[in-house]
Amino acid sequence: MANINKKSPDEIKSEILSQLKNGPKSTAEISEEIGSNWLTTEKFLNELKEAGIVFEIISTPKMKVYKSTEDLAFYSLPFSEEIRNRSCALLFAIAEEWRKKGIVPARTMLQKVAIELIEQTEGLKDIPILRFHYGQTLAVRYEPSAKCVPLNLNESQLKKLSELIKEYAGKLAIHAKSKQYQKPGMELYKEKYENLEKSFFCFNEDNFKNIEKSLLKLSIFYPVELKHSFPLFDKFIYCATILLNLKNKELKKQGFAKIRELFPLIWDAITTEYFFYDAEKFILPAKKELFFQIRDNLINLKLSSTLSLILDLESEINSINPTEIETLVDKESLEIRQLFVEGAEEG
């Protein structure tokens, strides 16, 4: 009698995978959903992990969380099934329309067109738009081999999509990115793309000035809500300001090389935090704890590895004799510095 309802290993594995279809889950959650005990569930999860079908994203003494390797959500965030399905289906619908014109669109281009379609038509506004490394994106990536039914677009949505495809056909994704960066809320991206990155490729005095100005502008555009990355970013700006004002040209060149090397790491940390910041409002309360765990794990990892590099650079910079650094001698700068003196006298 006892063996009548016993599930085979393949059935259990299939049930586990089915559980992970809509986002990451803890061993305890899976075990409860499939009606197997914790040990059995963990055993088969390990087998699936070894086979490269699932991936452990959180491993603490109290909790293990797994995701399917086919999970399309960025960072496997626990978005709702509806968000996942709608976002994925929209990307597939756009790709399908594009292919009808005989073009296979780049993934970045697909994301940018999806954003424009959501913003410029009715009926798609429930699909989240999130800021990420290269600007705005959906919550999921496009994977042609994934199983997904394209979204049924209505007439006006199809009309708009057709216009967008016409606009972007034959163009590089950077065209769509550049257009996106003109929007309010995208100033940080715009400054990076239009000024900083272009200046990063030249080693001359004028460019050093442009880079310094652009980095300082980034510090104005830095979003106040991104609190985790701010200390790192702030130290980076400090280091960059000093290195780009060294009197010795050779040392300045070396300093510039360090800035160029570090900047992508800083950008990665900031825009990862941006993604999580935007994503948070789309996570259901029951999944918030898991979301925060994924966020903290990932952001702390990124921040700590970059912070150690920045701290080394900062200590190098703090040892530079100030006589080797250019000072500003204009009237306004003197007035600015005079206020520091006033603060010191009172403090």
């Binding site: 502008k217 600015i336 510095r337 005079q338 206020l339 520091f340 010191a344």
Partner: protein
Amino acid sequence: MNYFLDMCIIIFYASDTNDVKSIKAIKFVNNKKTDKFLLCYYVTRENMPKWIKRQNIILKIVGTKILNPSFEVEKMEGYEELFSQDIILLKKRLAQYSSSDNKPEYYLKLRKNHDLIIQKINYFITKLIDKEVIEKADPELKSALFTFIQNNSDAITLASAIQYNKEETLTIITGDKKDWNRSNIDWAFNSKPELVKKYPKIPEIKYIQDI
């Protein structure tokens, strides 16, 4: 000669302005040679890091306010950590911005000058200080000084100087004639005669503007 420095000397040095205190502080530091510069731990570990933190908060608030003029500074992060004199400084910074002939460049200049000053402060502490002294100021001495100075940071720093003077004779360098003066120390000692026995030698005080 052992010079025990008030925190303001480092800021005068780092600010590099046309102000007499700044000019004299730079000259004083550049002529260091075999002299020893002493700082108390309270300055290096607590007071200076807190001062820098408050300057960072001011910088951030000014940047945010310039970008979003409708933001209320009082509601911005870190505002509650500012002292009353910092709030005056913040308002002066915003006034500086409003009267700037080149508003788009003002923040860039502020940030750059801020970073250059912080670098000089860090350089000073890591490279020019010969010894950090007095882990914890004598609470009795500090408390007696506070009664007359009415400034906690000054009372701790001055107490540290008087305390270390027992181990090595030193000269205090400050720019603050109002609080760091012999009269305040004498009043403090008169109020607690046991301090006279404990600290029979009072260090000499020199003012940077008079050097």
